[in-house]
Amino acid sequence: TENFVGHQVLRIVPSSDAELQKVRELQELEHLELDFWLSPRGLGDPVDIRVPFPSLQPLKAHLEANGVPYSIMIEDVQALVDLEQMQMLRRRRFVPRS
């Protein structure tokens, strides 16, 4: 099973055409293996990107160097996936067999 330990989801809300362009350019950087949960749309529209751990540092450095502000929407993707799994298992134990 694929795991997402250390992956984070960053949220960028482009507030200028320059920022929007910078974010669009990220989509071409295939080696970073970015997973765009919300793709770039327009100014003010959030862009959410799941970033594998090895790409976190280079990407954050790139955004900061280009003055593109970002926030961390999900600190640790694996933690949320684990929580989801645990909830499902717990619910399954109590479901009365029909």
Binding site: E2, F4, W37, L38, S39, P46, M73, I74, Q87, M88
Partner: protein, 304 residues
């Protein structure tokens, strides 16, 4: 199905078992149709809600075409139960005149893969000769602006359009069903997330002839949705509201003559994305249902 846990996410097997139970409990209203098989040979099921008659005007709702958008399949399960237990006159009026088709797991292979191997999987699980990567984006594979910008020709991309239109059996199954039925009047494809209600087109900036009416219906549907929990939605055509997307589902259905073609992007409170906590399944389904009621009632009142 009264003991089924609607407040939790479920596996493909559990959802298929739920569907069988719902049919068994409501033999005069619900039936299960098999419209095809997936790449990995899983059956593709559609629930039909009908009070009788043949080939009546119909409403189509699908969830889960992008497999990782789990809140959509979970909402589809909730909608199915809602339709059989709802006593309100609005739904009764609709079912007096129309059938409802509900495809809860529109991408079974991808959904199974999110439970067993990769929670973030979005596409189908097809393997096309000559490509390194697996899967096609089933919302770029329809014969509407297919191959245009707004989809990728790279098989490893999340928005890979596929080698040709309808290459994916999950898409072809719906195409054949819609063409054979011939009397579907509304087609609603449900995605998540980002709180949008969209109508065609996505592949071109040309406005659809029915833009005014669709915009008005979307406005009323969003108002009904937001009235429950205040969830803010934007609405408009795909290309003006999000971005250009070619080969999309509702562009094809609209071009087939299904005027009331809409896509939802369900809620996320902006903190979890696709990993929306299970505690938000029912509120999400409830608010979405209010918008669906508006669209279904408008369709019934404006049959064409």
């Amino acid at each position: 199905t009264s003991t089924f846990d609607y407040t939790s996410y479920h596996t493909l097997e559990e959802i298929y078992a739920f569907m069988d139970l719902l049919v068994a409990e409501n033999p005069n209203l619900v039936s299960k149709l098999e419209i095809g098989h997936t790449t990995e040979n899983r059956p593709i099921y559609v629930l039909k809600f009908s009070k009788g008659g043949t080939n009546r005007p119909a409403i189509w709702i699908d969830t889960g075409i992008h497999s990782r958008e789990w809140v959509t399949q979970a909402s589809g399960v909730w909608f199915a139960k809602k339709i059989v237990q709802e006593q309100d006159q609005g739904l009764a009026n609709i079912l007096d005149q129309m059938d409802i088709f509900l495809e809860i797991v529109t991408n079974p292979d991808g959904f199974a893969f999110t439970h067993t191997s990769n929670r973030m999987w979005r596409k189908t699980r097809s393997k096309h000769s000559g490509s390194l990567c697996v899967g096609v984006d089933p919302n770029r594979n329809w014969d509407a602006g297919f191959g245009g910008s707004g989809a990728s020709s790279n098989p490893c991309s999340e928005t890979y359009r596929g080698p040709y239109a309808n290459s994916e059996p999950e898409v072809k199954a719906i195409v054949d069903f819609v063409k054979n039925h011939g009397n579907i009047k509304a087609f609603i494809s449900i995605h998540s997330y980002s709180q949008l209600l969209l109508y065609p087109y996505g592949y071109t900036t040309t406005a659809v002839p029915d833009k005014e009416e669709l915009h008005q219906v979307a406005k009323e549907a969003v108002a009904a949705l937001s009235s429950l929990y205040g969830t803010n939605y934007k609405y408009g055509s795909i290309i003006t509201t999000i971005y250009q997307a070619s080969g999309g589902t509702i562009d094809w259905t609209y071009n087939q003559g299904i005027k009331y073609s809409f896509t939802f992007e369900l809620r996320d409170t902006g903190r979890y994305g696709f990993l929306l906590p299970a505690s938000q399944i029912v509120p999400t389904a409830q608010e979405t249902w209010k918008a669906l009621e508006v669209i279904m009632a408008h369709t019934r009142g404006h049959l064409y």
